[in-house]
Symmetry: C2
Subunit: 191 residues, 2 copies
């Protein structure tokens, strides 16, 4: 990544993949304790590890003047009755926004601020979502068949705080109930 | 636009339009002196005004913690032999980047810094372009038939300086020559 030089990168609109770069992969084994149903998670792992999602990190300089961007490819599936989702994170610089643009699939963007306010936005192709500063965010794929593909942009110095969510979880979860997504309180959430 | 509240907006991937918002329209009459061939421009205007491009302004608070975003719809056509293009601008806060994601059409993103360095990136569906801080940027539609559709994101406090480009122009222009786009020096460019 050269400073102050333009560049272009292809991210296929249909599948989010890039012929130019290698994505970071999050496997089920990377997400221990993130899903509600530990037993279901262990059982799935017993049958072999599984890629839950992939995303691109372009190595943009971490400066407030700069923007980092890429796609996330979140696969379809469930752990127990909980839909496949990303780990979710706060920005280290809490006061920085993020923008998503969904090009394929069907999902939710779940957001939560440190004071416990929850927001959720549905994503279908063509839907852009504004994630305000101060909100942790997680994507959830609620399609039975299709990956969820999103283009994202955030201030390049925002940073990622995964720890807070790994430790306490989100206050809300999205599970399948009677064949439909249902937003429930997270029984494992801890302050 | 409420502060610190998420929202979603639809921007159709195919045509860039939004059922939720009204775009800002740039007519040929808004672009006097921007195209090289004034006579061709006046002749076109004589046959009635014409929308060259449209884009969305969402009224995001102009804060460094925030991101502004939307789509640009740049129509297909030429003024003389110069392809339809946006006015182009620097950011008022020069040291802020921008990101484009092309979802439809075929075009160029032309960039130029105050010292005269020119960069150009080709855009087709799925191509994202990183516009570095310090660079003026202009989109150019080189398709004979299709609109050029781009999703864009920039830091919400970046601001727009249109004046510099209106006064001196870009150092390069894109014209059609022998049925193909050609990047030439702008004979009207002035320091």
């Amino acid at each position: 990544m050269r400073d102050n030089k333009s560049f272009s990168i292809k991210f296929n609109l249909e599948d989010g993949r890039s012929p130019d770069r290698t994505p970071t992969r999050r496997m089920l084994s990377d997400m221990k304790g993130i899903y509600l149903d530990n037993k279901a998670s262990e059982e799935m792992l017993g049958n072999g590890d599984k890629c839950i999602y992939e995303f691109f990190e372009l190595g943009i300089p971490e400066k407030s003047s700069d923007l980092a961007f890429g796609t996330t490819i979140l696969y379809s599936g469930k752990v127990g009755n909980e839909f496949f989702m990303t780990k979710g994170h706060f920005h280290k610089k809490l006061q920085t926004a993020e923008v998503y643009y969904c090009t394929k699939g069907h999902g939710y963007l779940l957001m939560e601020d440190p004071e416990g306010k929850t927001e959720i936005q549905e994503m279908t192709p063509g839907i852009s979502v504004y994630v305000p500063p101060n909100f942790a965010h997680r994507s959830i794929n609620i399609s039975d068949t299709e990956p969820l593909i999103m283009f994202f942009v955030f201030r390049a110095d925002a940073g990622h705080d995964y720890k807070t969510i790994e430790t306490q979880g989100f206050r809300k979860l999205v599970i399948e109930r009677n064949g439909k997504p249902d937003i429930i309180d997270n029984p494992k959430w801890k302050e």
